[in-house]
Each structure stands twice: as structure tokens, then as C-alpha cells.
């Protein structure tokens, strides 16, 4: 007996979908909080509203979609299957979703108990994910650089979480003092470790494949991630043994790594064989330009001892670099897996003799139209420009920026939800077409 054409290890659609759709939901929530609280909330860096927005973006948008993308991509990129994907994705997603909401609300409403609830939920969700994935990665036979980069990224997520939980206990309990000197370390492990390492690991494979470019230089693939990781480790050690020179060197190494990654990606894209500038390519270019700008501004400001607006680098990194990359990837991942699931379903029906003719399965641009993606990209870009201006002149630009940000996120949410509905509709349609 010939088995149904299986999805070649790809998990069911609901597994990545629930993570990817949750991301713009948190993005929209963050934008609405900005609109609700107004420009006073960014008058200082540590306001609870700022921390809530930051984590709706870093945990709610970035980490949320990164977990979903990993579960989807690992079978393909690493040749490994995520164990009992439906069960575990539920056990990981639900506490993650609830935990992020609780953490945000704990800050906004200043409820100590909610901090504790959030930490338990987030701690549980991340531990489970890290253990399961690391176990699979360690056993995978694949030896591509992406494997070790993913392991390093997971380790970075672990450090970020530990530091985050400790810091949050300073906010939520009487007994633990707030260790604010650790905040920079926490955000460095989060943004330069977890986020940057994972994005670069994925970029090494997907940029050459989907834009038909040359490979990244082998040294970049092999060493960049390790350099970043080691620099972050040394930076952490300076908290135990304060050595100014180690700190300076690590910072320089980090900046050079960011520069190398941004420049090599931009160069590859510039020399791509596929002339068509698809939406994902524009998002990549935008993301890498932001990384370039970020490093330059940061480097120059450090050299001339200038003070930067408090949120400038954060906006460039979180919105400009990380959210852009992921937003662009979503426009490849979601339509493709919808197409894949539909076409497999279609073929299986035929294989079982339940239908004689081949019905055409809608291609990717029917699932998310290019025009819808393009307009969402434009709103995203505009919201980025306005947010950057708002970090410098909040009184003028804060509201327009927040409004555009809300529109861009709502638009993304709309595009994704519409494609999920399309999937459900087509699935039913295919089955009745017998």
C-alpha cells in the first residue's frame, strides 16, 4: 500500500500559523499603547509603558514569530522533525502568549502578582522550547553552519530569559533589588544574541536560495556568529571583573560584526541574478540598511562622545532591522506553506481515487496578492521613518508615528488572517470538488 503523499516532515499548518499570526497582534497592541499613553511615556527610558511596549515587540512580535518560523523551517533547513509538533506547539504557544500579555499588563497596571504569573509562564514556555530544539539540533546529522548558529542563538535566548526573569523580579517583588546595571547585558543578549544570531543563521541559507545570489563568504558563515557570541560572553564577564579594555574590544568586535553582516547581505542582494525586486527582497534591503545606519550612528556617537536620543538605536534595531526581516520572511513562509498543504491535500484526494481531474491549486500571489504586500511594506517603511523622527522630535512626530505603526501592523495582521481564511475555504472547496 502506498501511503498518502506526506508533507515531508513539515508540521501541520496550525503549528507555524498560530505563532506567525500572533506576532502582528502584539505589534498592533504595542502601537495602540503608544497612541493611548502619548508622548509623555517616552520622556524617560525606564517608564513602565516603554518596557511594556518593548516587550510586546521583542517577545510578542520577534520571539513569537521566530519560534514559529523555527518549527516550520527546521525540518527543511536541518532535516530534523520537531517532535509531536501539534501537541508541543500548543504547550509552548499558549503560555508564551499569555505570559507576554501578563508581563505587559503587569507593567501597565503595576500589579506585582502578574509579574510572577508572567515569569512562570514565560520560563516554562522557553525552557520547554529550548530543551526540545537543542536536543534535536544536537542529534541532527546536518553540518551546515546554520546548525551551530541556531544552537548559539538558543543559548543566547536562555541567557536573555534568565537575566530578564531576574530583572523582572526586581520590578515585581520586594525581596529582590532591581539590578539595573544588568539591563544593558539583558538587551544585548536578546537583540545581538538571540535575534541577530538567528536571523543571520537563516539568512545564510534563504538569501542565496530565494534571491538567487552567491553564497555568503565562507568566513562570514563560519566565524561571524562565534565572534558575536564570544564578544557577548566577554562583555558579560566584565560585569564580574571590570576590565575597561575587554569591554572596549568586545564592543568594537560587535560593531564590526554588524557591519560585516549588513554589508555582505547588501552586496549579495545587489549582485543577485534574480532581477525581480520582490517584497521580501525589499524588506531585506530595508533591514540591512537599518543595521548599517545603526552601526554607523552608534560608532560615530561613541567616537565623538555625543549623546543620542534615547530610543534611536532601539527603533533602528527592533523595528528597522528585526521586524522588517521577519515581516518580509512572513510573505514567503505563509503563502508557500499554504500552497504546499493545499497541493498535498489535492494530490492525496486524487491518489485515493476520490477525484479524477487535477484541480489547480492557487499559487502564492493568489494567496497574498503582491499589491497588498507592497502597500503594507510602504506603511511599514513610513512608520519607521516617522518613529525615527519621533525619537528626536517627539512632540511633532509621536502621534503620526504611532498611528502609522498601528496601521502597518493592522495591515499585516489583516494580510495574514485573510490568507488563513483563504486556506480554510480552499481546503473545504477542494474536498467538495470531487
Amino acid at each position: 500500500m502506498r501511503a498518502d503523499l506526506s508533507l515531508q516532515q513539515a508540521p501541520p499548518f496550525s503549528v507555524p500559523a498560530r505563532f506567525l499570526v500572533s506576532a502582528p497582534f502584539f505589534g498592533l497592541l504595542a502601537a495602540l499603547i503608544l497612541l493611548w499613553y502619548g508622548p509623555e511615556m517616552i520622556s524617560h527610558r525606564w517608564s513602565p509603558e516603554v518596557l511594556a511596549v518593548t516587550h510586546f515587540l521583542t517577545l510578542g512580535f520577534l520571539t513569537m514569530s521566530m519560534l514559529g518560523a523555527m518549527m516550520q523551517l527546521m525540518p527543511v533547513l536541518m532535516g530534523m522533525v520537531f517532535p509531536r509538533a501539534v501537541l508541543f506547539s500548543g504547550i509552548i504557544h499558549t503560555p508564551l502568549f499569555a505570559g507576554i500579555l501578563c508581563l505587559g499588563l503587569a507593567w501597565l497596571m503595576q500589579i506585582d502578582l502578574l509579574f510572577i504569573v508572567a515569569l512562570v509562564l514565560l520560563g516554562f514556555s522557553f525552557s520547554l522550547f529550548i530543551v526540545l530544539t537543542a536536543d534535536r539540533l544536537l542529534r541532527s546529522a546536518n553540518r551546515h553552519a546554520t546548525r551551530s548558529m541556531m544552537l548559539l542563538a538558543l543559548l543566547a535566548l536562555f541567557f536573555t530569559t534568565c537575566l530578564g526573569i531576574y530583572l523582572a523580579m526586581g520590578h515585581g517583588t520586594e525581596t529582590v533589588p532591581l539590578a539595573r546595571q544588568l539591563t544593558d547585558l539583558h538587551l544585548s543578549w536578546g537583540l545581538l544574541g538571540w535575534v541577530l544570531l538567528l536571523i543571520s543563521a537563516v539568512a545564510y541559507q534563504v538569501v542565496p536560495m530565494f534571491q538567487i545570489t552567491d553564497e555568503y563568504p565562507v568566513i562570514v558563515q563560519r566565524w561571524l556568529g562565534w565572534l558575536i557570541f564570544i564578544a557577548l560572553l566577554s562583555l558579560s564577564l566584565t560585569y564580574l571583573w571590570p576590565l575597561e579594555i575587554v569591554k572596549t574590544i568586545s564592543t568594537i568586535v560587535l560593531a564590526s560584526c554588524l557591519l560585516t553582516f549588513a554589508l555582505s547581505t547588501l552586496w549579495l542582494l545587489h549582485k543577485r541574478r534574480r532581477l525581480l525586486a520582490d517584497i521580501t527582497m525589499r524588506f531585506w534591503q530595508l533591514a540591512m540598511s537599518c543595521l548599517l545606519l545603526l552601526t554607523s550612528v552608534w560608532g560615530i556617537a561613541t567616537l565623538i562622545h555625543a549623546d543620542l536620543p534615547a530610543f534611536l538605536l532601539g527603533v533602528l534595531m527592533i523595528h528597522g532591522f528585526a521586524m522588517s526581516t521577519i515581516n518580509g520572511m512572513m510573505y514567503k513562509i505563509i503563502p508557500f506553506i499554504i500552497w504546499l498543504h493545499l497541493s498535498v491535500h489535492n494530490k492525496n484526494l486524487r491518489g485515493r481515487g476520490e477525484r479524477s481531474s487535477q484541480v489547480n491549486v492557487p499559487h502564492m500571489r493568489k494567496i497574498i496578492p503582491e499589491a497588498a504586500a507592497l502597500w503594507q511594506f510602504r506603511f511599514h517603511l513610513l512608520s519607521l521613518v516617522l518613529l525615527l523622527l519621533a525619537t528626536i522630535w517627539p512632540l511633532w512626530f509621536f502621534y503620526p508615528a504611532a498611528l502609522l505603526f498601528a496601521i502597518a501592523q493592522a495591515f499585516l495582521l489583516f494580510n495574514l488572517l485573510k490568507s488563513v481564511r483563504f486556506y480554510n475555504k480552499k481546503l473545504a472547496e477542494l474536498s467538495t470538488f470531487i
Binding site: 532535516g79 551546515h144 536560495m209 530565494f210 534574480r274 532581477l275 497541493s343 500571489r365
Partner: protein
């Protein structure tokens, strides 16, 4: 040269033909597009054919595994062939949006397939099959003559 290097290079060559056809279609240049598309499909059919008729059977014989990775690869080849046909239809209709949409879908399908071969299957083949590059080169040349 090993099977892996040889076949990986052929993947890259096919990619370039794919890009050429897509670039032309995006510019509404249907004559060039259809020439490049035909060249692309021809190169792909040769590649897929050699895998299905030479490499996979030899591997299955050597290892005794018939339902494992090679079966999966064959199914993906069939999925690609469905898309070739759809692209050809869009090309005849000069329907740019459909052509680009199907091409986008094919590109991802094809690349993730190639990646599985390059990172897993070809390595396994190099461990089990004769490491004789001229043998495979000959198969490619013979294919063109048929």
C-alpha cells in the same frame, strides 16, 4: 569531483536559467521568456531524469532502502512538474501575474528540495556510490543526445 559537487553545480545552472526566464517575463518580454523557460525545463528534466533513472536506483540498490529519502524526492519532482505545466500555460496566455506567482512558488519548492539533496542525500550517495565523476558526466552527455 564528487556527486555532491557535480549535482550542486547543476542545480545552480538551472537556477540561472530560471532567473533568466523570470526576468524576461517580468519585463513582458514573452519571446525571450519562453525561450529561457524552455531551456530551463529542459535542463530540469535532464537533472530530474538522471536522478530518477540513474542516481536514485543505484543508491536504492546499494543501500536496500526504497521508501526512504529517494521516494520523497521523487514525489517532490512530481510536484515540480505540475508547476512546470502551469507555468507553461501562463506563458502561453502571457499572464504576467500568474507566471510570476507560480514561478515564486516553484522557486521555493525547488530550493528547499535542492537543499535537502545537497545537505543530506548527496552526502549519503557519495558514501555509497562509485566516486567516479566521468561516469555521471557521461550520463548527462548521453541524455542530451537522446
Amino acid at each position: 569531483m564528487k556527486i555532491k559537487q557535480f549535482m550542486t553545480q547543476d542545480h545552480k545552472d538551472c537556477d540561472l536559467l530560471f532567473a533568466k526566464a523570470e526576468n524576461a517575463a517580468a519585463k513582458d518580454d514573452w519571446t525571450t521568456a519562453s525561450q529561457a523557460f524552455n531551456a530551463f525545463v529542459q535542463a530540469m528534466e535532464r537533472h530530474l531524469g538522471i536522478e530518477e533513472q540513474e542516481l536514485f536506483p543505484a543508491f536504492e540498490e546499494e543501500t536496500g532502502v526504497k521508501t526512504g529519502p529517494t521516494e520523497m524526492m521523487r514525489m517532490e519532482h512530481d510536484q515540480m512538474r505540475v508547476l512546470f505545466a502551469e507555468m507553461e500555460y501562463a506563458l502561453e496566455q502571457k499572464n504576467c501575474d500568474d507566471y510570476l506567482g507560480i514561478a515564486d512558488t516553484l522557486l521555493i519548492l525547488m530550493q528547499q528540495h535542492n537543499m535537502k539533496e545537497e545537505q543530506m542525500l548527496y552526502n549519503m550517495m557519495d558514501q555509497h556510490l562509485p566516486n567516479d565523476f566521468s561516469h555521471w558526466q557521461k550520463k548527462f552527455d548521453e541524455w542530451d543526445e537522446d
